[in-house]
Symmetry: D2
Subunit: 339 residues, 4 copies
């Protein structure tokens, strides 16, 4: 079978991770083209990844390069446009979340994607492809805890990334759209249901800069789902110990807890501080395997004409909830998720 020919746009932290995976670790893909407005990123693609065709214009890459699929890791404000161009050019598309900068763009992307439903589309909710999350999902499907009725999510970014979080707080859409959206996706995935209402509390307790932007550095939300289940969320920006992603799924026959200690690896040191487990630094470390697995899944779907388990609807619904959660934070009321 032929290898899937891929063009990528965006070679920043996450983009270069995807690019290296496609170039070196995915047997049935080949990285043919790369696009970036930054010359050093194009240089990197040529030199390190052996990509022959490098572009500074996305449309040009899509038009000229001999590619089957496009991987979009550009800035969020370009996602909708890049999805449109790629879809209309008949390419299969993988895009990092979100589908667009706002609800309108997300819905527009969804419409585009649906119109081209013979092309493969996948959105980068990578946690679903993390080995532990995959394992737990499988065990739950096999009945390990019965049908789940509650999910509890904790996401705390490391304090040492706080400058970027502050700088990008407004363009990122704030705590809930930028960060909690991954947890929202997990809750929808594990409960296999859509949320109905949400309520949020929180504030800027550590970094007052967020207050000016009407954003929070620590917040908590709870959501009711249509079939009666619920989910709770804790999101924060300032973990001193590292990158803390923890999830619980509760059913009538037991509960799973994932990542209670966000351990760096299998070592513990006993020293003057006590019994210490060092923690993972950030998402590239925690989700390295998840990023590889999701891309492998995308490529396999393209090659076999199979529909990925995570698509436009997940991008749209996750964003819809994140908007309602943000609204609830600002109004102090329980908000319906029906925008």
């Amino acid at each position: 079978m032929e290898k899937v020919k891929v063009g990528i746009v965006g070679l920043g932290r996450l983009g270069s991770c995807h690019a290296k995976n496609i170039a070196f670790k995915i047997a049935n893909a080949t990285l043919v083209a790369a696009c970036s407005v930054r010359s050093e990123e194009r240089e990197f693609a040529k030199r390190e990844l052996d990509v022959s065709e490098c572009y500074d214009d996305f449309k040009e890459m899509v038009t000229k390069a001999d590619i089957d699929a496009v991987v979009i890791v550009s800035s969020s404000n370009f996602h909708n446009e890049h999805i449109r161009i790629a879809m209309e050019a008949g390419k299969h598309v993988f895009t990092d979340k979100p589908l667009g900068l706002n609800m309108e763009e997300c819905l527009d992307s969804q419409e585009l994607i649906n119109k081209h439903n013979d092309q493969i589309f996948m959105i980068g909710y990578m946690r679903r492809y993390d080995p532990t999350y995959m394992y737990v999902k499988k065990k739950i499907q096999e009945g390990a805890i019965g049908k789940p009725f509650a999910v509890r999510c904790t996401s705390i970014d490391p304090e040492d990334t706080i400058d970027g979080a502050i700088a990008y707080a407004e363009t990122s859409g704030g705590l809930f759209r930028d960060m909690t959206v991954h947890d929202i996706d997990l809750a929808r995935w594990f409960l296999e249901d859509e949320p109905e209402t949400v309520y949020t509390v929180g504030g800027a307790y550590v970094h007052k800069e967020f207050e000016k932007m009407n954003d929070a550095d620590n917040a908590c939300a709870i959501m009711k789902f249509k079939n009666g289940g619920f989910a709770s969320f804790y999101s924060g920006r300032d973990a001193l110990h590292g990158y803390h992603i923890e999830t619980e799924i509760i059913g009538p026959k037991g509960m799973f807890r994932i990542g209670a200690v966000p351990q760096k690896n299998l070592s513990m040191i006993f020293n003057e501080n006590g019994a210490v487990q060092e923690c993972v630094s950030y998402f590239p470390e925690r989700f390295a395997e998840a990023y590889l697995n999701e891309m492998q899944e995308f490529i396999d779907c393209v090659q076999n004409g199979r529909t990925p388990g995570v698509g436009a609807v997940d991008g749209v619904e996750g964003m819809r909830v994140a908007y309602a959660m943000t609204k609830a934070f600002k109004t102090g009321h329980v908000e319906k998720i029906d925008v």
Copy 2:
């Protein structure tokens, strides 16, 4: 210094635990009298605890017995009455929570207690006297994590106590007043603030009997505090692994987690199930030391004329929140805590 002479009312599971502690493990107290409507409980007091004066009428005990202090572990519906009788007889009073069956009774108890503020009064929020909780509180006061702004509480009763939970669901006041009230106290204690609003979601997912009583077997609530902090609560009735009491306190310089694995003891078994930690069965096992410590504190306060750290106000405010939490569960709205 003279030993404090104590009379106890109620010798059920918790009552007999308190009685044994007073009789045998608290050096500066002596258990002089015991009251129970059940003859076998009075027999137990005589035979096992060497209590000479046994009564079936509380007023009689308070009037006749040579006691300085009364320990009330009777049914909740008698708490208000017993507090009144004991207070008016000039006795120091320790009572298990709640202060009364409903808000009116709680407020009435508080008024009584305040009127007799030369007598020692203490309410049994024993978790504050658990060695781990005490340790964490002390570390926080010393600045270990900065000033806390968020508390997260999980309380899940063991599934094998479900029959009692169902049978007493109506008299106990339901999940929030019976159970979450301990977590509410912890949140108030750690945040050193009073809550303002609360929102609750949940349902009867495992035991449909609770639905008929408009009660939940699993629920989640979040509360905003007056100074801006917040707390979240997960309460359940059906842990298969044991009795799960877990608390997190989050501050700008770190976070404490207490009881993440409700381990039975310091052993782990590696067998065909994996690496297994057995869990504590229920509150008498988990909080054995806390029950002893709180009673020691009460006796010391009586002996030294010192005011205990937990009093009528904690009983009243905890109950006020539990009522609002219950109301929010029923209305589906954010409720103010100002009843």
Copy 3:
């Protein structure tokens, strides 16, 4: 039933712990007399423990005081003499380990004890009365892991007690007789068998002072048992994280591990060091309940004429092994345990 009347000798760190337990926490015992050569210790007994009869001469206490039982917590070099005096005066005896300063004294104590086998005798291997060790022993007796064939023991004293360890290294008998002897007892107890040969390696890696005394600060030994099982031991003097007592018991159907993390309590702190569990400081903290439980057991045995589960033979055999272990460390050969 009458309370057991107790006289204690030695009110140092461990002695005062025992004394307080007898005075306040053991319902069926009363602390009648105390003996110490130090006036401040006698003062403490009078003032804090309400002991009326205080002596500076052990023989005088045994002769004059109205006591049923003697608790010996004097210096090791007095144990043999104190056992003799108490036994010959017809008292029941609890003694802290060892039975004597050397093998001859231990055997002499054993002979004395055997001669008076109508009096209760118990030696203070308190670990057998620690709740976790008791639980594991019971589970093993119930068949949880099948018949154990191997035991692995780790004991590391906290570095901050090193000065005392160095100062007393010669009188204490060195690492193996002072410290490993508790692990040897556990291995004998869990395997229900006697060891046959032992081999030891180790050295003075951190504190060179031990080298001059032909002693080790870190060492490892393995022992073959008569019925074919084996045990290994790691003993150290310089844990920076606290007091580390860990034991594994291995059988054909699984293995138990006790104290893998010598956690101070049920809290974990997440901070700039990672996910941290603080550890217990030393034996009074780790084994507080064990000291109480063993004394309760002694008193109950006295009251009911029951033989304790741990007696002279355990004191003698444990010491025999510790001597062979020490010899093996010095000779570098496998040594028989048949002195």
Copy 4:
């Protein structure tokens, strides 16, 4: 830079893992040729790995195929011969342990390798390339615990592989040469020293079949190192919970523990068994990354003419110790490691 052209021999469980890594996950290598006496393995190489040149004769592959390097994953009894053929043909060589079936073969391999010291040679002690072990080694080199003086190793194979262990016990060389040899390598690596003497105890406690072969199913050994440090080893064949590889490294400023719970992934399930961590099944799961990392290192060394950190001397010295450990098990004496 040119990709390194590789030929592999042996495509069993470990061989096919290496082959897939070379074919798909190592950017600077290409799998050109494969050799196996089994036709279905050659078919697999053609079909799944797209290997054009498949051979049933090793010498033929080495002679005819256009390869720079050979990866030897054949049966142990062929290692020496395959090393010879490859080395003499001027190929770079990676071989799975051991260097030969017995000490003579190992020494012969070493001589061959040393004679061709312009060719890269590496032996598959993959644990050194496991992310956790690499991390701990690096931290120790940076001074995290001072200079280590003791190492403790535990290796227990899963019970469900026992049939193979019994079947191959004699050809594999028994517990110590087959299994403990990996721990011996870790001890040498962390202590940066060579062992001098060893003593072993153990037996066939669970599977009597091993007794007939003078082998053990559970055993324990301790070793003295030339510069005074020591190491202890526990090796077993029958873990019901999975594959248990645990290592401790102890220094004057702290101790590292690796793999205390051999967790399958980051999830914990709370159910009727308690708080349960499932464990890894066996080495392909536990050391998947290590196998990839070591092969990447080999290829990088070939490409850059760099000497790998683990070579013939490690293969020879590890085997020498394993032999002495086996001898000590049989004689019951402390054995010198100087064969």
